[in-house]
Symmetry: C2
């Protein structure tokens, strides 16, 4: 039976999962696809820690050239993460004539264009199913199964850490800080959770989805982004009053004014499929013009779910399917069909605004006057009696009708100098 | 740009959808995949009816040899349906050196083994994404994205007609006959709905899923099957008392005693993802040993969703991906890994039994004695006061613990001669 040899760089959690699958299920995979997919070398700077996987002697190395210079290795799996040394490894693997499989969304969101150009120059391929929604095969769908569709919109819950935090706040009425601590305790959040909770991770994944589904090549740093770190327990109580709950959504939507891209905690109807996505699950709803809505849910992170996606890419490479997909789609190239990305200031949305204000006469008049002056209509307004009458501050919730972001921003700028009205928390509202 | 030529046989609803997509989006698809996929000939016995698709002159024919004998046509789409003439067309296409794309689950469930052997003999391929769950790309996932997983279980809502009927009964407290009529009025059910409502269609789809996920080659006619036609409005009321609703599930589950296969209306928890699948939607939950649970939902039928799946197969054929998948997986062959199918009589399940009994002393004693004698334990029992005290009959609901089907059947056989206890309706219960 033919054998394809694989080198793995980065023996962290996901790397150990990939080793577990490729070594433990080598025979199963060979029987299933008629070809052996043999992991032969693993590189990590730490070669001694026990990762719970039995490795044959000599498989671990700290010298990456043992993979790069081995002509028998045709597939390199990059699981180092980040955009520094990982980028070097990917480039070197491509230049050494190897196909690359990666789970690195930051690398693709930041350097997709360069790396894909390099892969084409080298006649090699890059596969990256695990970079978005972990084990849920959503990139494969966009690259193959949904090809006959003009994609109309994508709504993704693509960060398990954030979804865990929001679910925890929702179900236990927990404060943000407590929900974050619980996520860290359970291993769902990093010690430094910034890139997750500020929405950066979701935005990088959205940039990848935008390329696959719409041919768009956004600078992810310019995509409007609000993280879950602005959400307060009280927002869930107001959301409930509105028949809704809150999920961090990455949104890509084709409109007559261009492609809307944004990441923001969003009030979604409590009976919607996205509202039912709890815990650290990921989910994505794709609407195609022919297929209609398709909904996927599964683990977006974790050792084995992510490794499952990495290994399916490795098998795709070994069988030659990855080459066909890579060559035909011409991702991150000028040859792709593309749509224009809409100016973020012009994006129209329904906003949920929580103002923390001093409880005094005239406040609501100030707010509604400023919104009215800039043409922002109010769809709903909520204010609860204060739990403690001595509290100086009160929360006023305004839900707007569709309004361009720049109009809303102008209204908020107008309110900014008023000392007794604090800068509001701004979330989105969708059906 | 290279061009691949396609012939389509069967210009019904789905056929017209495929023509709409391949003709209307020819340029979009070509731009996207770097190859033209040109529909050049359509064969149907009716060449005159307007299907709402503008066809170039000369494209329609009633003579299938215009497709079979055209050496430029390399892909034949079979959308005739059934196992008679469709089988002939598929065989002839393969023998004429053409790859086949089909949506025909009956054909695959009945003749998969022969047709796949023929395709291998002819060096051609068969693709069939649209045969299960319409536009939802679940077969692609099993054939590619989930390959590194040992599949543990599949639970599928794969018949839109039945799901519409059950949702209608659930939400409107409708009688079965009325829900069926409504489904027919809306075009969700055929004039003769037997193959849908008796579970045959779901069972054929389950046979296909069993082959892809487990390498099993069941005779679909031997898979235990209960249709939605036994469900009564009162079952939804009892299900609600139990915190559940009813969905028609096709189930494949790996156990230590072999592969469980069955199709049956099932009481599922009202908060489960499957319970939230309403209308004519399809959904499938696949559990893999690495990826964990993955859930998909979308339109399982309808012109364009199904055509979307057919067209993705056509593109896969045109690009050569279908060949790799076909050659590597060796479906319906002895070379595949396989699991043993469990004897249906030995399958253990929790049953929901609705007895219609004469309202007289001793009835419950008879039922519980018979169940107890055969080792079937009762987990729950329900009986409501009769709406009308003059009714002669009452409904008694028994929910059992896990019991082998043969033990349950023996208990029911024991009750069969008792004149005041009618043959019960038997559904399944799952969490």
């Amino acid at each position: 039976m033919d054998s394809v040899k694989v080198g793995l760089i980065g023996m962290g959690t996901i790397g150990a999962g990939v080793a577990k699958i490729l070594l433990g299920k080598a025979d199963m995979i060979a029987r299933r696809v008629g070809k052996r997919v043999d992991l032969v070398k693993i590189c990590d700077c730490d070669t001694t820690t026990d990762r719970g996987v039995a490795l044959p002697p000599g498989m671990m190395t700290s010298d990456v050239s043992e993979i790069m210079n081995d002509p028998d290795i045709s597939i390199v799996v990059e699981l180092v993460g980040g955009t520094g040394i990982a980028r070097e490894f990917v480039s070197r693997a491509l230049e050494s004539g190897k196909d690359v499989v990666t789970a690195n969304k930051a690398l693709l969101a930041n350097c997709g264009e360069d790396l894909f150009a390099l892969a084409r120059k080298c006649g090699r391929t890059i596969s990256f199913e695990a970079s978005v929604c972990g084990g849920v095969p959503v990139l494969a769908s966009l690259q193959t199964s949904l090809l006959a569709n003009r994609i109309e919109s994508i709504q993704a819950i693509c960060n398990g850490t954030c979804n865990f935090i929001l679910s925890e706040m929702e179900s236990k009425n927990a404060a943000y800080a407590d929900a974050l601590k619980e996520a860290q305790r359970l291993g769902f959040a990093e010690a430094n959770p910034t890139l997750d909770v500020d929405g950066s991770d979701s935005t990088q994944k959205l940039a990848i989805l935008a390329q696959l589904a719409f041919g768009a090549r956004p600078d992810w740093k310019k995509i409007p982004r609000v993280g879950v770190d602005v959400v307060d327990a009280i927002d869930f109580r107001f959301a409930k009053d509105l028949g809704r709950t809150i999920r961090l959504l990455a949104i890509a939507e084709r409109t007559s004014d261009g492609l809307v891209l944004k990441v923001t905690p969003t009030l979604v109807p409590e009976n919607s499929a996205l509202a039912k996505v709890t815990n650290a699950f990921n989910a994505i709803q794709i609407v195609g013009d022919s297929v209609g809505p398709v909904f996927y849910q599964g683990w977006g992170a974790g050792q084995l779910p992510t490794a499952s996606a990495v290994c399916s890419d490795v098998i795709d490479c070994a069988l030659g399917r990855a080459r066909i997909t890579f060559d035909s789609l011409r991702l991150w190239s000028d040859e792709r069909e593309s749509v224009e990305i809409m100016d973020a200031n012009k994006i129209k949305s329904r906003a949920y605004l929580r103002f923390n204000v001093e409880d005094r006469p005239g406040v609501l008049a100030d707010i509604s006057a400023a919104l009215g002056k800039h043409g922002v209509s109010i769809a709903a307004m909520l204010q609860h009696a204060k739990a403690n009458p001595d509290d100086r501050l009160a929360s006023i919730i305004i839900v707007t009708y569709d309004a361009p972001d720049e109009a809303l921003q102008a209204a908020l700028d107008e309110l900014a100098p008023i000392p007794y009205i604090g800068a509001p928390v701004k979330l989105a509202v969708r059906d």
